[in-house]
Symmetry: C2
DNA sequence: GATAGATGTTGACGCTGTCAACAGGAGGTC
DNA sequence: GACCTCCTGTTGACAGCGTCAACATCTATC
């Protein structure tokens, strides 16, 4: 059942894999260093040779999640997608949150370990946001004078998407007694509203000329 | 420094207060039953006479937060506010998240204990959402045929507000290098976009006639 | 006054993260 | 070859945690 019982060559890599398995099985909160060690059949102290502590192991996993998430968004949005099926950023974002709820919760729903101690984690997280931001900058022609507007748009899109993603994973959602056709329409409705909000000129600003969208600059 | 050292008359109440102090001082994750007991100068088992376990103590605190939150929204939105300063729901929501970040994180950013075991918690959480939902139902005249649309609108508003609130509390926010005027404009911009999205007819639906908004039905 | 229930205390268990000391193997240097 | 050092992994300890079980005490009721 486990990934493999023979003594792993690269213990650090094996720790990350085992930790992700524990998280998948019993949740993020239940992850313990001793669990990881047990799962690998090594002593309870061995993982500490590769990670300073539980936080550092968790930070490494989060970093990989952000890298995976960014790659997912990049792949789904780029015009040169070999599959040809270019997807809207919003769909791609929500699809990821839906297909990998644990990873999503780990990135956005778990208190971070001290960021100053984990610069790599910050770097990859910012990079994921930059995919969204750059797509908005491209829309306005990537002129620095429009950076504030692009940032505001990007943060709005992120807010709506992240809000929906985290709400749909929240426990309270199952108890709201929503009208029956609401759930299936939820994602499309939200993305329609995002588009409507962005189409409306923000404040005394002309509607940005925008015929065909440009690809994200990455 | 502590709330009071004399033996409290109502230990259950004192436990809740002490727990909130611990959370305020060292964070939600650091809360332990033994901390609460120590803080009150009682034995480590005494709190268990009033709460089945850590989860139940946490659930009680969360329940109170939801009650407090709902009351905050009600007060800020009702026309009969004695202060006369009626506030928009969005502002009220974001103001709460900003002024009580710990409570907000506790409600929306912390994994819930098994909901089936804490029906009161669920009830109060749903009630908070109903304030938002009812305000949308009122906008459409509270006709059941429009309940789905009201639900969709309410979930959109909640998504955007919750998304922004949780993003602004997230660690990554400080590392995004935003244009300088973005942060101060963030809240107003988002609420403007919410309004714009709701004003735009969703799909083949006339713009709802809506001159003066009705108060929330509660 | 006896009795039963509620409330608080004490002590133990296994779990956790983490520190310190130790063991062995790889590789370099004399 | 002998020696030394670093890297990796092991063993054993410690305090803190949640929780169970047994005991003490206080209070109210018959």
């Amino acid at each position: 059942m486990a990934t493999g019982r023979q003594r792993p060559l690269d213990l650090k890599e094996a720790c990350v894999r085992a930790a992700r398995e524990v998280i998948a099985e019993r949740g993020i909160e239940a992850l313990s260093m001793r669990d990881v060690a047990r799962k690998l059949g090594i002593s309870h102290q061995a993982p500490y040779r590769h990670f300073e502590g539980r936080d550092h192991l968790l930070a490494e996993i989060m970093r990989r999640c952000f890298a995976d998430f960014a790659e997912h968004l990049d792949r789904r949005m780029s015009f040169d997608d070999p599959t040809g099926g270019r997807e809207d950023m919003g769909s791609a974002y929500l699809a990821y949150a839906e297909r990998k709820p644990l990873e999503y919760r780990l990135m956005f729903g778990t208190p971070w370990p001290e960021p100053a101690q984990h610069p790599e984690l910050v770097k990859y997280a910012v990079h994921a946001f930059d995919i969204l931001r750059n797509s908005q900058r491209a829309k306005y022609g990537d002129r620095p004078a429009q950076y504030a507007r692009a940032d505001l748009d990007a943060l709005f899109i992120w807010s709506a998407l992240h809000g929906l993603a985290s709400i749909m994973q929240a426990n309270v959602m199952q108890h709201l007694v929503l009208a029956p056709e609401v759930i299936p329409r939820l994602k499309a409705d939200l993305m329609g509203k995002i588009d409507a909000a962005l189409a409306a000129a923000p404040q005394a600003a002309k509607k940005p000329r925008q015929s065909g969208r440009k690809p994200a600059t990455r």
